[in-house]
C-alpha cells in the first residue's frame, strides 16, 4: 500500500493507493462461474502513533486499485502513517508513509 501524507497547518492530508483487483461477485461469476471467488478489500485502517485516524469497512464496489484520501489532526511532521487493508480472503497488506 502506498501512503503519502502531508502536513498543512494542523491538518494532515493523506493520499493512499491499495493495489487490489477488487473483484465483485458478478465479475467472479462471469470469470470462474463461482461467485464465491470474489475478492475485495473489506477493511482499511490507518494509525498514527498507535492511534486510529481512519477506519473504513468497504464493499466490493470500491474501484479497482482504489485510491483514498482523508484528513486528520493531531500529528506532527515525521510521524508515520501506517495503513493496513484486509481482503475477503484474509490477505493483508501494510504500507507506511512519513508525514512531510
Amino acid at each position: 500500500m502506498k501512503v503519502k501524507a502531508k502536513l498543512k497547518g494542523d491538518i494532515v492530508k493523506v493520499k493512499a493507493l491499495a493495489k487490489h483487483a477488487m473483484t465483485t461477485y458478478d465479475q467472479a461469476k462471469k470469470k470462474t462461474g463461482n461467485s464465491d471467488d470474489a475478492n475485495f478489500i473489506t477493511r482499511i485502517t490507518a494509525t498514527v502513533n498507535g492511534k486510529i485516524v481512519y477506519e473504513v469497512s468497504t464493499s466490493q464496489f470500491l474501484s479497482k486499485n482504489p485510491i483514498m484520501k482523508f484528513q486528520f489532526k493531531g500529528a506532527s511532521k515525521g510521524d508515520k502513517v501506517v495503513m493496513t487493508w484486509v481482503d475477503r480472503k484474509g490477505n493483508t497488506k501494510t504500507g507506511k508513509g512519513k508525514i512531510k
Binding site: V53, E55, V56, L62, P66, M68, F70
Partner: protein, 153 residues
C-alpha cells in the same frame, strides 16, 4: 528491580501493540453483516442504523454529474457534524452498501474514495449518511448518470 522494570515495560508495549485493533474500533462487516447484503438503500440504512429517518442537512456529497467511467467514480463526503460514523450507499449496484467509516477523535470528515457504479442509463442516487454523536442521522444525496458501467467488467 531491573527485571521488574523490564517486565512492566514489555507489558506496556504489548498493550500498545494491541490497542489499534481493539480500542474504539468497529468492523462493520462483522458487527453488521446484513448491511452488506441488503439490496436497497433503505434496507441497508435500516440494517446499519435501525431507522431511515434522517435530516437532509450538514452533509456534502460531491460527485461529477456525469461520470465517464463507472469503474472509478470519485466520491467526496464532507461534514462538520460531530459524528460517530459515516456510511455511503447507492442504488445502482446489486447490493447497496459501499463503505462505512468510523469517525475517530482526530478524524476529519472529508473522505475521498473511488467507487464502481453499474450503468443502465438511468440516473443513480448516491446517499451518504452521517451518524451524529447526538444519535441523529444526517443525509446528503447526489444524483448522477454513468456513461460506462463499472460492474460488468
Amino acid at each position: 528491580m531491573q527485571r521488574r522494570k523490564f517486565l512492566s515495560l514489555s507489558g506496556l508495549a504489548a498493550v500498545a501493540a494491541l490497542a489499534p485493533a481493539s480500542v474504539n474500533a468497529e468492523d462493520f462487516r462483522k458487527t453488521k453483516p446484513t448491511v452488506w447484503t441488503a439490496h436497497t438503500v433503505d434496507d441497508a440504512i435500516t440494517a446499519m442504523y435501525g431507522t431511515t429517518a434522517a435530516t437532509e442537512s450538514g452533509v456534502t456529497l460531491t460527485m461529477p454529474d456525469v461520470a465517464s467511467n463507472g469503474g472509478a467514480v470519485p466520491v467526496n463526503v464532507k461534514s462538520d457534524i460531530d459524528a460517530k460514523s459515516v456510511a455511503i450507499f447507492q442504488n445502482a449496484n446489486p447490493e447497496a452498501a459501499i463503505a462505512a467509516f468510523t469517525v475517530h477523535e482526530n478524524s476529519i470528515i472529508n473522505y475521498d474514495l473511488k467507487i464502481k457504479l453499474k450503468s443502465d442509463g438511468t440516473p443513480i442516487t448516491v446517499t451518504a449518511i452521517v451518524e451524529g454523536k447526538d444519535g441523529k442521522l444526517y443525509v446528503g444525496k447526489k444524483t448522477l448518470t454513468v456513461a460506462l458501467g463499472g460492474c460488468e467488467g
